[in-house]
């Protein structure tokens, strides 16, 4: 099945087993996201935002239903293939940055590249370029924990974009940041992602983002609703 949509979610069901009881998170969830679309996902803590993103990236498999990204049904893939799919097509931005602490800033950016190809001199230049753009040129060889939260999140954004994925998934990217920094990070995401024409789904409860989004959805009654 081919669709125009960058992401197509069909009849997605997901539930958790908790203390012996089946606990449904999503019921027959449907969503189509257009290429280049920026979707903001609102919802209270524990409403299933992270689960939704994990389902999209293939980290978590659904109980039933389909997740089609770039015409590939990732729910039909093995765990191994889902991982390979993820390394090519998905960029992740987490609330707590989640940089690899044992790698330098530059290495953190190079790692996704290395996973998909032989890294060349050009790639190194590309990394430096990108970091320059993020005003992090002097932090190239620093380890993540020497950086401030804002700086770390900027690196994380760069890491999400460096290997040119189709979809960026951002899970509360500003959740750990103060207002000003959050503003800067959002700005950056908006510019970089939009400019590159990437599709982005951002889970957040920050109201400021809403204005920048193409669509704002919220999880309600185990399914998505337009706001």
């Amino acid at each position: 099945m081919t669709t125009d949509a960058a992401i197509s979610i069909q009849k997605l069901n997901k539930s958790y087993q908790e203390s012996g009881q089946q606990h449904a998170v999503f019921n027959d969830l449907q969503l189509d996201v257009k290429r280049g679309e920026f979707i903001v996902l609102l919802g209270r803590s524990g409403s299933g935002k992270s689960t939704f993103l994990n389902l999209l990236s293939g980290i978590d498999p659904p109980d039933s239903g389909k997740v089609i990204i770039n015409n590939i049904d990732i729910t039909g893939l093995s765990e191994h293939d889902r991982t390979l799919f993820r390394r090519h097509h998905i960029g992740f931005v987490f609330q707590s940055y989640n940089l690899i602490p044992t790698l330098t800033v530059a290495e953190n950016l190079l790692l996704p590249l290395e996973l998909i190809k032989r890294v060349s001199r050009k790639d190194h230049d590309h990394v430096e370029e990108l970091l320059a753009k993020l005003k992090l040129s002097d932090r190239l060889d620093s380890y993540p924990d020497r950086l401030s939260g804002g700086e770390q999140q900027r690196v994380a954004i760069a890491r999400a974009l460096i290997h040119d994925p189709d979809v960026i998934l951002a899970d509360e990217p500003t959740g750990n940041l103060d207002l000003d920094t959050a503003e800067q990070v959002l700005e950056l995401l908006d510019i970089l992602v939009r400019k590159a024409g990437k599709t982005m789904i951002m889970a957040t409860h920050s109201q400021e983002v809403i204005g920048k989004a193409d669509r704002v959805l919220s999880i309600h009654n185990k399914t998505l609703q337009l706001r």
Binding site: I59, H80, T83, R86, R87, T102, L110, E114
Partner: protein
């Protein structure tokens, strides 16, 4: 401390059962090995002491003699002429039961009519009527014997049943006329292989006519007159010793052996301590947030400290109890090994039983708990330093530990230098020699994190060059958590270097002994003559045998040796009495240049040669005189040479047969060397000699003796090998537990890697590469350290413990094996955590923290 506070930490503990179990295992194994060695060693000695005490009973002193035994008239002289009371004449020997099991029993011949105040241990608890009637029967009925109730039961013997035993005199029929009961477990064990009979029966059955094995004596402490009177009447072949001093000298004899064993036990505990440290650090690290929150709530540093120490104590208690139980079980196993070794090289222990004393258990408890507390102090302190406000990032902690590593580097250099200096100046002290090894090992252990950092840099460069960032990651991960990985590597390194060191030492020793055994077997065939040297006919029949062998066709010449004991410095001292020919003189390896007239002097002058261990232990130098007790008073023998001998660690003397026969009675031979004419069929000659011999005599080719000797050598190192593998096993558990903890701590980081597209297979490779790298570093480091350990063992500890010098034989195989051992152990230890991590769902991994 509030119950809630405790619960907050306990709940956490329960959530990590694996770590908990491993920590307990660490304490348990460490304590178990130490306790087991202690128990087995002490029990062996105590069994010996109690066995001799059960024989001596209330005796305070004993007259003993060399192999010839005591003249029974000595006893009459003491009793009748000197009027000395409280003497017990004893004739002992070993007999073999024909049925069932062919067990060796000790036959003890007593005089039932001596004073009641002097009774043997087995006589305790027997009623007077038992003593009167049975002992009278024992005296009047030839070949009547007593057994313990239990032994009779085991042998299915009823009173008045007959049973057969084999002795030097052939088969003998004995009649069970009575049973004695024993009232405690020790006596029961001792009496299990005991046959009590009258002294006349003992002489008849064993063929020891005219001789006594020993005379037990009770001398009141306030009675030096009796002591002096006895001393005066003793002939040159007899020696009066106090029972206590005899026990003491047995202990002294095995002291070096015991210390070496205990050092191995401590090594295990040291590695076990690492396990405890590791687990407690993990538990503290994992709870940074929890502890931070508690601090925020107003929990004081002291409370946090108490909390951690309290947990450690709980673990220590469980671990120690498990360790003690394990140690008792292990001790049972080690007991056979240890008493076997003592049997082989020191003295005969008839029945070793594991004897557990509260003192030893207490020692184990103390050791387990204090080792745990020591190991837990650093993490407990660390826990108190956790700030209430900001939870320190892991890397910042690591930064702190990196600074620490530099300081530690300095300390470790001091330790190593201190160790080498100690080794150099340890003098005669074995303890100091072993302490130096511990210092060196500990020093290098502390240095390991620093060296590991250097190694990881190197590996990172090399692998990064070919494999990019992913290739750099293993080395990075090792370096990043150096406070954990460094100590795991250090523990592995210590275990492996101890292994390498001991392997090199044993190898060198083996090589040295092999060369020595080879050199000292110049004859073609060796006849060994067993049998009790006390029996009067032995010397005669030995001479007869020698004459007959000499007459055989194909025999060119003979040599002979008699291994017996003489009294030097009021101590029974082993001596070999040689009758040498030109060929057999080549069998001596002298530790110095010898003059051409050495053998002439050996044969014709009142001279003696001594073995290297004897010279070492008694600080004997060439030219010195050794005074030996003879029936004609003391005689001085000049030491004219020192020669290599690895047959025992106490050393012995050697003199020519001419010299010996001038002063001491003929006891026949212990062995005869047969030199065949060129071209003689040795197999044929062997069978011809065989035809001349009785059951007590055997003939073996020099090859067979060589093989048998090397087997004995291997056997004596069984215990060392066993203990070494035990400590290696503990090290493995330690590394395993460390890696488990490490991987668990990085669950989230691994989750991110998975999230950004690293496959689970890549993750497995990554983790195994990391652990393999750790193993490799440990292995590489262990090579030089192992070398130093071997060096100290060979040239300091063994030489001082046992008086042996040996050449250092380098065996590259040992090094490869060492590195491989470390590498494979670490690799194996990494497999389980790697698989566990790879299987962990990234979604869940991301959720942690």
């Amino acid at each position: 401390m509030s119950a809630i506070l405790k619960r907050s930490s306990r709940n956490f503990l329960w959530q990590h059962p694996w770590q908990l179990a491993l920590a307990i295992l660490g304490i348990a194994l460490g304590v178990a090995v130490v306790i087991a060695i202690d128990l087995a060693m002490e029990s062996s000695l105590k069994s010996f002491n109690q066995a001799s005490q059960a024989m001596s009973g209330t005796a305070t002193h004993r007259i003993i003699a060399s192999d010839g035994g005591l003249d029974e008239k000595l006893y009459t002289g003491l009793r009748v002429e000197r009027g000395i009371a409280n003497l017990a004449p004893i004739v002992t020997g070993y007999v073999k039961l024909v049925q069932p099991g062919e067990d060796n029993f000790k036959l003890i011949g007593i005089d039932p009519f001596i004073e009641k105040s002097l009774h043997a241990g087995w006589q305790n608890g027997q009623s007077e009527s038992f003593s009167r009637d049975l002992l009278t029967r024992l005296l009047s009925e030839p070949n009547s014997v007593l057994l313990s109730e239990k032994t009779a039961q085991q042998l299915h013997l009823q009173i008045n049943d007959q049973f057969k035993v084999i002795t030097d005199q052939g088969a003998q029929q004995l009649k069970l006329i009575g049973l004695f009961s024993v009232n405690d477990a020790v006596a029961e064990q001792i009496s299990a292989k005991l046959i009590i009979t009258d002294i006349a029966t003992a002489q008849e059955v064993l063929g020891l006519f005219g001789r006594l094995s020993s005379i037990d004596i009770v001398i009141e402490p306030d009675d030096p007159g009796t002591l002096a009177a006895i001393q005066q009447s003793l002939p040159g072949s007899a020696l009066l010793v106090s029972i206590d001093s005899q026990a003491e000298s047995m202990r002294e004899m095995t002291r070096a052996f015991a210390i070496n064993l205990k050092a191995l036990g401590l090594l295990s505990l040291l590695v076990g301590m690492f396990l405890i440290y590791n687990t407690m650090t993990f538990l503290v690290m994992q709870r940074r947030r929890l502890i931070g929150s508690l601090r925020l709530l107003g929990v004081t540093r002291q409370q946090i400290f108490k909390l951690v120490i309290g947990e450690a104590l709980l673990l220590a208690l469980i671990g120690t109890v498990v360790g003690i139980l394990l140690g008792i079980a292990l001790g049972q196993g080690l007991l056979y090994l240890i008493s076997g070794t003592i049997n082989a090289i020191y003295f005969r222990i008839d029945a070793a039983t594991l004897m557990i004393t509260p003192l030893q258990i207490g020692k184990g408890v103390l050791l387990g708990i204090s080792a745990t507390l020591l190991a837990v102090l650093p993490p407990a302190y660390e826990a108190t330093q956790l700030s209430a406000v900001k939870v320190l990032a892991r890397s910042q902690l690591e930064l702190g530990s990196r600074r620490l590593i530099k300081t530690v580097g300095l300390i470790s250099m001091l330790l190593i230098i201190g160790g080498l200096v100690t080794a150099w100046f340890s003098g005669q002290s074995i303890t100091l020699g072993l302490a130096s090894i511990f210092l060196i090992l500990f020093g290098f252990g502390l240095l390991t994190p620093a060296i590991t950092l250097l190694f990881t840099k190197l590996f990172e460069r090399v692998f990064g060059l070919f494999l990019g960032i992913l290739g750099r990651l293993p080395a990075r991960m090792v370096a990043a958590e150096i406070s954990r990985t460094g100590i795991a590597i250090a523990a592995l390194m210590i275990a492996v270097s101890a292994t390498i060191g001991m392997d090199l030492m044993i190898g060198s020793f083996r090589q040295t002994v092999a060369q020595w055994v080879h050199a000292s077997l110049p004859a073609d065939l060796y006849v060994s003559i067993l049998g009790d040297k006390m029996t009067a006919e032995k010397a005669l029949s030995d001479h007869q045998l020698k004459n007959e062998i000499a007459k055989l066709a194909g025999v060119q010449m003979l040599s002979s040796a008699l291994h017996t004991k003489l009294i030097a410095d009021d101590q029974l001292t082993k001596i070999s009495v040689f009758e040498l020919n030109e060929a057999s003189k080549q069998g001596f390896i002298f530790k110095h240049q010898v003059a051409d007239d050495l053998w002439a002097r050996f044969d014709n002058q009142q001279s003696i040669i001594v073995t290297e261990p004897y010279a070492y232990h008694h600080a004997v130098k060439i030219g010195q005189k050794i005074r030996l007790k003879t029936d004609q008073g003391e005689q001085a023998f000049e030491v004219i040479a020192i020669y290599a001998d690895y047959s025992g660690d106490q050393g012995h003397l050697a003199m020519s047969r001419q010299n010996y026969q001038r002063y001491w009675p003929d006891l026949g031979y212990s062995g005869i060397g047969v030199y065949a004419k060129a071209g003689t069929d040795l197999k044929q000659l062997e069978s011809r000699i065989n035809q001349l011999m009785t059951t007590q005599q055997t003939v073996k080719s020099n090859q067979d003796i060589y093989k048998a000797s090397m087997e004995v050598f291997e056997q004596t190192f069984t215990i060392t090998e066993t203990l070494r593998w035990l400590s290696a096993a503990i090290a493995f558990v330690g590394v395993f537990s460390a890696l488990m903890a490490l991987q668990f701590e990085r669950t989230r980081q691994l989750g991110i890697l998975r999230a950004i597209g690293i496959t689970s297979r890549q993750l497995t490779v990554l983790i195994i590469s990391e652990t393999g790298l750790m193993g490799l570093i440990a292995g590489l480091l262990a090579i030089p350290v192992g070398f130093i350990v071997a060096y100290v063992l060979i040239f300091v500890v063994y030489q001082r413990s046992f008086g042996w010098t040996m050449a250092f034989y380098f065996d590259a195989g040992v090094l490869y094996q060492g590195v491989a051992l470390a590498f494979i152990a670490a690799l194996l230890a990494g497999i389980f955590p790697a698989m566990k991590m790879a299987q962990t769902h990234p979604a869940e991994a991301l959720r942690t923290e």
